[in-house]
Symmetry: C2
Subunit: 437 residues, 2 copies
């Protein structure tokens, strides 16, 4: 085209980019980490780089923003950014810190604005669950109050799958796949041993208020005798007698029984079953318990069966080696969209997953107002839990199945271990006075 112009056009100056928006994008990770939150970070950095926007990452979530502990992602190589997408954990550090209302925590919010001003932060992306959506919303309200031009975007993440509006939460699908695969594998073990050894196996799934991960275990089998034969949901009151009676029925029919229990199950009076522990051991020391240990103990004491139980704990949310491809794609999609929304000035929104079809599974990412997400908690629909309370329905399967579909293995080294990237987290020079959170 240039050749047809009447005069030669100058080569573009590579040191200048007229499309570069002014300002800095601040990204931070919050709450319990997942197998794919770093994939979201990877997508955020890649999308911002493509638009020549500088990205700072707060160290340890909002805490790093308060402390002015900021990591300059421009020092990361393209390979490091790419490797983030297959690395579990929270590469920039996360935190559990819920800010109170604007008035109650005004000093903190004002400090945040000081830090944002000092580094010309114009876009703030907070990657987390309910509390983080709430924080992002409040920061945007404060910025408006102080006339500071800031676009706040909440980026969804939680293995608990309990965020409102979004059809599912990045991080859940991978934890769900870990759960379903682990339960299927353990079931084959218990089945093989049951004649002379373990008859009942209890698997404790994360989920203090919502039974999504326990439900995902239900994908491990479909037939009447398939494990898990019993699932206990926090959405249903735990009734010990009914539970033990069901174990008896299953062991009689199948020869063994695999129980999946949500850590958050409560009795009819609302007391957490996990708190039934907290006793003392034979040396008078505090004994930490948990739901699975308690249930296994009851099965052993009352029914006399040999029991085993597992508490996967953090393993279930960091198992990047068995991540769901669907989950990974969604985690990256919300990261890209978050940058797009932010740069387009869409304030106080969250990119959410919208499901348009179960089978074939189709989804898109749309913007939802943070006000609709923050401080809401999505529990399992009643229609997802079987009438007897011990399993999932076909509707639950239709919902859950696509979320664990596809494998997305990390690359492995010759040493047999995944090639996970660890960032050095060096922070840039502080410009403001020290601040102790």
């Amino acid at each position: 085209m240039a050749a047809s112009l009447p005069y030669p056009t100058p080569d573009p100056d590579p040191t200048q980019d007229f499309q570069m928006p002014k300002g800095t994008l601040l990204y931070a990770q919050s709450g319990g980490v997942t197998a794919v939150i770093n994939a979201t970070a990877s997508a955020v950095i890649q999308a911002a780089r493509a638009r020549k926007v500088r990205v700072l990452a707060a160290r340890n979530g909002i805490l790093g923003a308060l402390r002015e502990e900021l990591i300059d992602t421009s020092t990361m190589s393209a390979a490091q950014v790419k490797a983030l997408a297959h690395t579990p954990g929270g590469a920039f550090g996360s935190c559990r810190l819920k800010l109170k209302s604007l008035d109650a925590d005004r000093a903190k919010y004002e400090r945040l604005l000081d830090v944002f001003r000092a580094h010309d932060v114009r876009w703030f992306l907070y990657n987390g669950g309910n509390d983080s959506a709430d924080t992002a919303l409040k920061v945007s309200q404060l910025a408006a109050e102080y006339d500071y031009p800031l676009t706040c975007v909440g980026v969804p993440k939680t293995i608990d799958n309990d965020l409102a509006v979004t059809d599912c939460c990045p991080g859940f699908g991978s934890a769900a796949k870990y759960t379903a695969v682990s339960v299927r594998e353990a079931a084959l073990d218990v089945a093989a041993m049951s004649e002379t050894s373990t008859k009942v196996f209890v698997y404790e799934a994360m989920g203090r208020h919502a039974g999504w991960l326990a439900a995902a275990a239900g994908l491990a089998g479909d037939g009447r005798n398939d494990a898990p034969q019993i699932i206990l949901f926090p959405e249903r009151a735990y009734d010990e007698a009914a539970f033990l009676a069901q174990v008896v029925v299953v062991v009689k029919r199948v020869g063994w029984c695999l129980v999946v229990a949500s850590e958050g199950i409560r009795d009819a009076d609302g007391r957490f079953v996990a708190d039934a522990g907290g006793g003392k051991d034979s040396f008078g020391h505090t004994q930490l318990g948990g739901v699975a240990a308690h249930l296994a103990g009851r099965v052993k004491d009352v029914l006399g069966h040999k029991v085993h139980w597992t508490l996967p704990d953090y393993l279930q949310r960091s198992a990047r080696h068995i991540a769901s491809k669907t989950d990974l794609e969604q985690a990256m999609a919300v990261g890209r969209k978050a940058v797009e929304f932010a740069l387009a000035g869409k304030n106080s929104v969250m990119p959410v997953i919208v499901r348009t079809s179960d089978s074939p599974y189709r989804w898109s990412v749309e913007a939802a107002p943070l006000t609709k997400v923050a401080n809401h908690e999505k529990t399992m629909p009643a229609g997802f839990i079987r009438k007897d309370g011990f399993g999932i329905t076909a509707a639950a399967r239709r919902y859950l199945q696509p979320l664990i579909a596809g494998e997305a293995y990390p690359p492995f080294g010759r040493n047999g271990l995944p090639d996970y990237v660890v960032l050095d987290q060096a922070t840039i020079r502080r410009t403001l006075p020290r601040w102790d959170a």
Copy 2:
């Protein structure tokens, strides 16, 4: 060649096979199952089929042989046999049943011979650990005493890696890989959360008498600050004060601490730390504990840190999805060799792994006398444990590293789950009177 003969040779009769050895090969699985014991079974069946030898599998190990509950593997399709190689658990059922001496359990041994006679069993392959090697040895002695022509071969299997003579045990490498990968992943989680949440994480590894799996966790990191910063071995007396002091040192230096504890650690008086539990909860119920729960409780009580812990239990030995390729290859190699040894009449032997080079890793399979394997237990060499008792040495790394090398993913279905095969375990018609074990 036929054309050059002075007269035409007849086509071989496809219904006849002159190379078919007479008799039946009986295969059985014993003890705790692994991610790859079915791979050994798959190799046994394939090797026997190639030599036109009929394979019966005892249901639930030696118990099925006693009960005359025998599965005819010739009804399995080639695809099923192949799929066995990527299916965890024990497809024919396993058992925990240790036979006593020939004199003490003579009735059982004679019953075994009756069953062997009834089904023309000429080769007996028992796939298990120490106890199974002992059983195979005793059965061979009995057969000799009764002049019954039988070749007994023990086939090694155990995630505990505690069999004598063999350099390593099929099943261990995959559990070791699961352990190292899980610890590396959990470490990234804890590192991200440590500023405001969990500071100490405790991982409980299987291994009642030998610390092999706990040692394998050491592969998760190599640097001074890498997890696991503390490993507790059953080969060293557990000293609570020294342990807690080390946690303090690590948390101060690293900011957090990941502890891997073998379930079998004992104090200086030889008492299992796991037995420190067994107390009562606040409702007066038996509280099941475990080493990780105990250690986490002590760290919480004495040091005041927020703790999390995990008890992977059966997940670590059934995790075929993260099996070691090396382990899988060895599991199949010992299966093939067991058939070869058996048909060659090598009695009372076990195919064992012989390591000929660490790097590049090279190994072969040789025959070892069962007398050298049975009832011996291989603990970790002292030179594999660091002087301070809290980690592994370079020698341990050289030994362990090759065992977790390579990935061997099972095929996954479109539903996001591994395509594991489940056999129906139908048994052939009994010819002897019923027998109750």
